[in-house]
């Protein structure tokens, strides 16, 4: 199944960094997401979009994960030539991931 089926996500931007949250609809799925949605898997999935390092923060207090992706916005929000300079839609790229 796709992450989209069991979780939601919001993209945020800071300079050339994209932040992607991953929030399961059912908090019981949090542990499973921690196991399956590893940095390695996300890196592979976001190839071509994210060129830099990815750091994953586990947030058991709200049963959510946060992926902080470096070099994800083609140089940064203000000087990128991409059509979606902020990467607002990148949350839906993450949710396309099959698990």
């Amino acid at each position: 199944m796709k992450l989209y089926d069991i979780a939601h996500s919001r993209a945020g931007d800071k300079g050339n960094i994209s932040t992607l949250s991953l929030i399961p609809y059912d908090e019981n799925d949090y542990e499973m997401l921690c196991q399956k949605v590893t940095v390695e898997n996300v890196k592979k999935h976001m190839k071509g979009i994210v060129s830099g390092e990815i750091v994953r923060y586990e947030m058991p207090n709200i049963s959510s994960l946060l992926f902080v992706c470096q070099d994800a916005l083609a140089g940064g929000v203000t000087t990128s030539l991409r059509i979606d300079t902020h990467g607002k839609a990148l949350s839906y790229a993450l949710l396309e991931m099959e698990i």
């Binding site: 960094i17 929030i23 979606d84």
Partner: protein, 455 residues
């Protein structure tokens, strides 16, 4: 001391809708209304307007927002805190006075500036240190002739993210309206909490808790279903009438976030979690000028329909430096678009894109070719689908306006020189203002507060 204050957030960016703030001021039973209207680049664009006309440089929607809001604020005794001062809080304050006079209303206004580190403190090259690994920023500043920003200079703005201090001073002086330049977004909310509850400004645990609440509120509609709705998985009712949030904040640093009844949208665990993590680079250490906040101990609880209780969070000592956003003239962006549809739409769009690339690659270092409907949003990725219509977009960085114009002209020429059935050309040329960040020592910058009264 009050046992509860209610703070509403009626705007989350410069271009936000006007009427949610009016609904809050009219029916929200607020103590404070915050309008957050400054994105990263907004202030640089505002400074460009100020360089051309010294009486401008505040938010372009200020007049429309204030004219409609002011009678409600005065009638319901609500204090307004807003960063609509942008590059010129003092002229913004004078404009509000002018509106109040016209409406026959008595108000005291405070303008908080001091964030414009070039004009206000004449800071120069040696005062800044690198933020992150952006060597480029220091090179940019090195080349700039401080302390002047004018039409010819590459740097057009340098604004420090100030904290609570200037707003606190204005609150203590009984200003009903506080209009600031660049202030960190959560500080707009934290200042009234400190003022009303008598929190100590070095009680970093409480400051961290208040910052969490401010962060949840600062994007207005983003916690009530905006930037959230998905008709399949996250349906939201009545989006055309989206309500903006208010927070009932309590002296021990907790809050209940809700919205005016009968407005559209929703506040639930899902919207609150998405917003808590929005634009957070490190949830253990969320830097603001007031505190380094901890988001990993925040608890969110749904206690009723459209009611989220926020408890926990914390913080440690504020940073020694202010972050400064530097706006500079980066380049001219030229763009052109053309559409293809039906059988072989993608193949024809690609032929068009390749044709443009071949013709222009000797002149431009960077050419972005997107196939909208195919790969423009998830570039270079395998996440692609077949569509019955495709729009080619070509964009480049140019040194001059004239050079940038070439892109649109080339795309337009595809009508008669390119693949079959290309239609709907649009051309754009824009000057792009880039933003980079540096750090400056705290003691080199301090807020400047000026007061104005109507009648």
């Amino acid at each position: 001391m009050k046992q509860k204050i209610r703070i509403g957030c009626g705007a989350g960016f410069s271009g936000d809708r006007i009427e949610p703030a009016i609904v809050l001021a009219e029916k929200g039973e607020l103590d404070y209304l915050v309008l957050e209207c400054l994105a990263e680049r907004t202030i640089a664009l505002a400074n460009k307007r100020k360089i051309q006309d010294p009486t401008k440089g505040y938010d372009p929607l200020l007049e429309r927002r204030i004219e409609t809001l002011l009678p409600h604020l005065v009638k319901n005794n609500i204090r307004l805190i807003t960063n609509m001062g942008a590059a010129n809080p003092i002229e913004g304050a004078k404009k509000i006075i002018e509106i109040a006079q016209k409406q026959g209303l008595k108000v005291k206004i405070a303008a908080v500036s001091g964030d414009d580190v070039i004009s206000d403190f004449r800071l120069g090259n040696d005062d800044f240190v690198k933020f992150g690994n952006e060597d480029f920023t220091l090179e940019l500043i090195e080349k700039h002739q401080f302390p002047v920003t004018n039409n010819k200079s590459t740097i057009i703005s340098a604004n420090a993210y100030l904290g609570i201090e200037g707003i606190l001073e204005a609150l203590e002086a009984d200003a009903q309206i506080i209009i600031t330049g660049r202030v960190a977004d959560p500080s707009l909310f934290l200042a009234p909490m400190i003022h009303e509850f008598g929190w100590k400004t070095d009680d970093y645990d409480l400051l961290g808790k208040g910052t969490v609440i401010g962060h949840l509120m600062e994007c207005a509609g983003q916690i009530t279903g905006g930037y959230f709705a998905d008709p399949i998985k996250k349906p939201i009712e009545n989006m055309e009438n989206l309500g903006h949030p208010f927070a009932d904040v309590f002296p021990e640093g907790s809050a209940v976030i809700s919205k005016v009844e009968e407005t559209g949208g929703i506040i639930n665990l899902q919207t609150a979690k998405e917003q808590l993590l929005y634009e957070v680079i490190n949830p253990n250490e969320y830097y603001t000028p007031d505190v380094i906040a901890d988001f990993t101990s925040v608890k969110l609880e749904e206690i009723g329909k459209n009611q989220i209780k926020v408890t926990g969070g914390g913080g440690k000592t504020k940073p020694e430096t202010y972050k400064v956003s530097v706006g500079y003239k980066a380049f001219w962006q030229g763009e052109g678009e053309i559409s293809y549809a039906g059988s072989s739409a993608l193949e024809r769009a690609k032929l068009a894109g390749e044709t443009i690339e071949k013709r222009l690659k000797s002149q431009f270092e960077e050419i972005q070719v997107d196939y909208i409907g195919q790969n423009s949003i998830f570039p270079n990725s395998e996440l692609q689908y077949q569509n019955s219509e495709v729009r080619l977009r070509v964009a480049t960085k140019a040194q001059t306006q004239a050079e940038a114009t070439l892109i649109g002209e080339e795309v337009e020429a595809l009508y008669t020189n390119g693949p079959a059935g290309g239609g709907g050309v649009r051309k754009y040329v824009n000057e792009v203002i880039g933003i980079v960040s540096v750090l400056v020592d705290r003691d080199k910058v301090k807020p400047i507060v000026a007061y104005f009264e109507s009648l």
